[in-house]
């Protein structure tokens, strides 16, 4: 039986109990005259930092790592997150990025620039776009850049457009990015099948429409088969089509955003292209554009001229979204990923991830999980509704998720997209074997069976993890919220009279 490690690991500040002086790094010292010192008016007082030796620090963090779960530990079917295996060879890539300064003379980093250039070329090819910028550090930053590009494009055309259309299945980042870019967000409701309602779209699009932000396959895992028509409707009114390609896993090697009529697309190299997620980041993004829109991309972009690689700024570039060249350390990991799969492997990604999703649907078809448009094939992910189970047993999507933790799996994404009640969003990816898929399906079936037999027990899960369910009220209440050790100390000092107001 699976059981997660549990260490009673104190906070790093509370390990050294003697107050003795310890240090985990020896600082190199040069023998140079030291008649210089910070002016007294600027000098800082003592800082409360831990005092520990290297071995104490290492053991502390290793123990913490044992109370964590990564895709190297087991399957993480988190929908919309694409938790595929991150090949170990990606780590080799650091040799051409780690020690190079982003403002170094270009002549000294030709090899690194060549790697970035090749990655740009490959991403152009798989997206069908004309140019890619790797300056965006993540998907959301790509969306923001894309929205700002659309804004600058319309302003240049002197057309006053103040609305951004967003599908109601969209990831929360789409409306958030649109509003950061200064647009009013207008939602396009999905039809019965879970697809964009083209008639509704037609009647909503107007001269005020700057663009339409869309994911295809959408977050229900459904391919928007009317995409050509959607593209026509938007473009006829002078709008632009934005592709949220955070997750290209469902179409990679099958169909390309550029061929579907999209003008701007962002990719998450930390989803589709194998960059590890690091517990929330860092990732790396790519922002690709077609035709005239390519001139608005954020810079720098690597270009090749006379056999030399240089950084350049497109003519009407919106500028910089991050301070330097983008998360190149992770671009290099994606480079290794693409090289390791090659054209043969890349062409199989959507085929195999789609196969895995539809296999799970097949295995779960007799469960009480419900599916909108059950006869339509899913792509890289599927969203089940546990509403019927909830109505009949009181066991919610959250309880099912916690039940899966007890079975040694990570949980699916839950309660997203918001248009599905008691949503369980499952994305198995192409790197889970048929054996693991079977185990996962069986675990889920067992949990549903238990929902009917012993719902109370499920509502108390998980119990095989380091801790059980956490008190969210205490965590968030203004009189108990504790975001740092500093606040803990203040609470002690003020006898808990520290309210966040």
């Amino acid at each position: 039986m699976w059981r997660q490690a549990l260490w009673d690991e104190p906070l790093i500040f509370e390990i050294n109990k003697t107050g003795s002086s310890r240090q985990g790094i020896m600082i190199p010292k040069e023998d140079i005259e030291d008649d210089v010192s910070i002016p007294d008016s600027l000098r800082r007082k003592e800082i409360d930092l831990p005092e520990l030796t290297e071995n104490e620090v290492v053991r502390h963090f290793v123990r913490l790592s044992q109370m964590n779960y990564g895709v190297d530990t087991g399957m993480m079917p988190l929908g919309s997150c694409t938790m595929k295996y991150n090949p170990k060879s990606e780590e080799l890539a650091q040799t051409i990025t780690e020690d190079y300064h982003p403002l170094q003379d270009e002549s000294t980093v030709q090899g690194t620039l060549e790697m970035v250039y090749e990655t740009q070329e490959w991403l152009k090819e798989v997206t069908g776009m004309d140019e890619c910028s790797l300056q965006v550090p993540a998907g959301s930053a790509g969306e923001l850049a894309g929205v700002i590009m659309m804004r600058k494009y319309h302003l240049g055309k002197m057309s006053h457009k103040d609305e951004m259309l967003v599908a109601d299945t969209a990831h929360g980042t789409n409306p958030a990015s649109a509003s950061m870019g200064g647009y009013k967000v207008v939602y396009i409701k999905s039809n019965e099948e879970g697809l964009v309602d083209v008639d509704l779209l037609r009647s909503t699009v107007s001269e005020r429409t700057a663009g339409f932000m869309l994911t295809n396959p959408n977050t229900l895992g459904l391919f928007e088969e009317n995409i050509a028509e959607i593209s026509k409707v938007i473009h006829e009114k002078g709008g632009l089509l934005y592709y949220d390609g955070a997750n290209l896993n469902g179409i990679l090697g099958i169909v390309r955003p550029g061929d579907m009529g999209f003008d701007v697309v962002h990719l998450n190299l930390h989803k589709t292209f194998g960059v590890p997620h690091g517990g929330g980041g860092p990732g790396a993004g790519a922002l690709c554009a077609k035709g005239e829109m390519a001139r608005y991309l954020p810079y720098p972009i690597v270009k090749k001229a006379d056999g030399k690689f240089t950084l350049y700024k497109p003519e009407r570039s919106i500028g910089k979204i991050s301070s330097f060249n983008g998360n190149i350390g992770n671009v290099a990991r994606a480079y290794v990923y693409i090289l390791g799969l090659g054209k043969e492997g890349i062409s199989e990604i959507a085929r195999l991830s789609t196969l895995a999703t539809n296999y799970l649907i097949y295995k779960l078809k007799d469960s009480n999980l419900e599916l909108r448009s059950p006869d339509r094939p899913r792509k890289h992910e599927v969203v089940f509704s546990a509403k019927r189970i909830y109505d009949e047993t009181g066991v919610s999507a959250l309880d099912i998720a916690k039940g899966l933790l007890d079975e040694g799996f990570y949980a699916p994404t839950i309660y997203f997209p918001p248009i599905v009640e008691e949503a369980l969003m499952i994305e198995p990816t192409e790197t889970e074997s048929i054996e693991t898929l079977d185990m996962f399906a069986n675990a889920l079936l067992k949990i549903i069976e238990n929902a009917y037999k012993n719902p109370d027990r499920l509502r108390q899960s998980p119990s095989n993890t380091a801790v059980s369910r956490l008190d969210q009220t205490k965590a968030n209440h203004p009189s108990t919220v504790t975001p740092s050790y500093k606040v803990e100390k203040l609470r002690l000092l003020l006898k808990n009279d520290l309210i966040l107001k």
Partner: protein, 442 residues
């Protein structure tokens, strides 16, 4: 066909058969005319060994410098200890996701809580989030926060702001109609307070100061700046190099509202542009905390009364609030925050101070040597940390001579001006050699 990363590649047909489907059935909804025809123009699959050889080939095309470059401008070369690399390489951290399921993710949650706590001590501020992308984007988010708080559109920034940060700030805030107003430096290279008071008024949303500024110069009058701003209810934002806070007063001591910066200098390699580590912190004030973007980890208890950690105040975020969220940020730089936490823990109270002092000493040694032996001058006379500007007659000539010796000199600010960065990775020998090559081409 088999591939080491694709377990079901060889059993595709069997799985399809079990399901009673064909591959075409799975893609029946994709219009035929849109599908990719023929092969993608990508390289053939390479074995790990071949990939390694290709990377070696690329590395050989880079110039192997004799010493780490004397380059800063927002990120600086430092030594990253093996223990830091080892911990962030632990795959339980490295291959995990944002801890949406806290019960199974206590490790990363506690590590991030410790990052927040360690950074809170360094900044002397109570609430630190678990990371933005980098300094520039943290600054942009801070300015947008201030705009949401007071609805004003004017923002004061120093003329000696890092130009890269300024550029990011402009890109992010221009769509919201934010206007940037610059304050001149005085002879010292610090903020000209007269110019500042002329520009500061009730229409100003926030004021941003950088410590040290782009020229490495330490602002020595921030108490006055914060005082002036507070009277007009202007939000104060301070950008800091956290490493300099080993020696100088932290933002919290000035009572600023928001602190931003980059954690790169605390255990993160240069990475040719990223990943870095955007720092963002605010004072203990609900108005600020509720407008703060990004993930925050908090301490709580589980159902059995055991101590635990979880993501808190999530109603600020995009998945809950969509277009009304405080930001669109989702993926952040969490693992880099852990690198910061491990590095700061290793340094500890004494190491942190020792490191700051060593860098301060070495950079002053280099500046004095250049001024004394080459007769070059500095444009501004204020005291500095780690980076300093010098005027030379011909940047390109000096730069190329240095490169011929395998040394990368400072950053070009103009044809006659260079910004040099000296840290603990630049030995006395390296500094001396750089200066003697510069002397040759004088």
């Amino acid at each position: 066909m088999t591939h080491p990363w694709l377990p079901n590649l060889s059993s595709k047909e069997d799985i399809l058969k079990a399901m009673g489907k064909t591959e075409n059935d799975l893609f029946s909804d994709v219009p035929k005319e849109l599908m990719i025809k023929g092969e993608l123009s990508l390289p053939h699959a390479r074995s790990e060994y071949e990939v390694k050889m290709r990377l070696r080939e690329l590395k050989d095309k880079n110039v192997e410098l004799k010493y780490p470059p004397f380059l800063g401008g927002g990120v600086c070369p430092h030594y990253v200890p093996e223990a830091v690399k080892f911990i962030i390489g632990r795959s339980e951290f490295y291959t995990s996701y944002t801890p949406y399921q806290p019960e199974i993710s206590q490790g990363i949650l506690q590590a991030l809580y410790e990052y927040q706590s360690l950074m809170a001590e360094i900044l002397d501020m109570e609430v630190v989030n678990s990371s933005m992308y980098d300094w520039g984007s943290s600054l942009a988010e801070a300015v947008l926060m201030a705009f949401r708080i007071n609805g004003r559109k004017k923002v004061i920034i120093p003329e000696l702001i890092n130009p890269l940060h300024e550029e990011v700030l402009r890109t992010w805030t221009e769509p919201r109609g934010i206007q940037l107003v610059k304050v001149r430096p005085n002879e010292e290279g610090t903020l000209d307070l007269d110019d500042l008071s002329r520009k500061l008024n009730g229409e100003v949303s926030s004021i941003y100061v950088e410590q040290p500024n782009f020229y490495g110069i330490l602002e020595d009058n921030l108490e006055t700046v914060v005082d002036l701003a507070r009277k007009l209810k202007v939000v104060t934002i301070m950008g800091v190099n956290p490493l300099s806070l080993s020696l100088i007063k932290p933002p919290g001591e000035y009572g600023v509202d928001i602190a931003v910066g980059d954690g790169q200098e605390l255990g993160i390699p240069l990475n040719y542009g990223g990943p870095y580590m955007g720092i963002m912190a605010v004072r203990w004030d609900a108005r600020l905390v509720r407008q703060m973007p990004g993930r925050i980890v908090g301490k709580t208890k589980d159902e059995n009364g055991r101590q635990g950690y979880t993501l808190i105040l999530q109603t600020r975020e995009q998945f809950a609030r969509r277009e009304k969220a405080t930001s669109n940020i989702t993926t952040n730089e969490a693992l880099m925050a852990i690198a910061n936490a491990v590095y700061i823990s290793l340094l500890g109270k004494n190491g942190f101070k020792e490191l700051g002092e060593e860098i301060y000493k070495r950079s002053h040694y280099a500046m004095r040597k250049i001024v004394k032996e080459l007769g070059y001058s500095r444009k501004f006379q204020g005291d500095f940390f780690e980076e300093f500007e010098i005027n030379l007659k011909n940047y390109d000539k000096v730069h190329n001579a240095l490169l011929r010796h395998g040394i990368h000199g400072g950053l070009k600010l103009s044809d006659t001006s260079s910004l040099l960065c000296v840290t603990e990775v630049h030995s006395k020998k390296a500094i001396d050699e750089m200066v003697s090559v510069m002397k040759e081409v004088m």
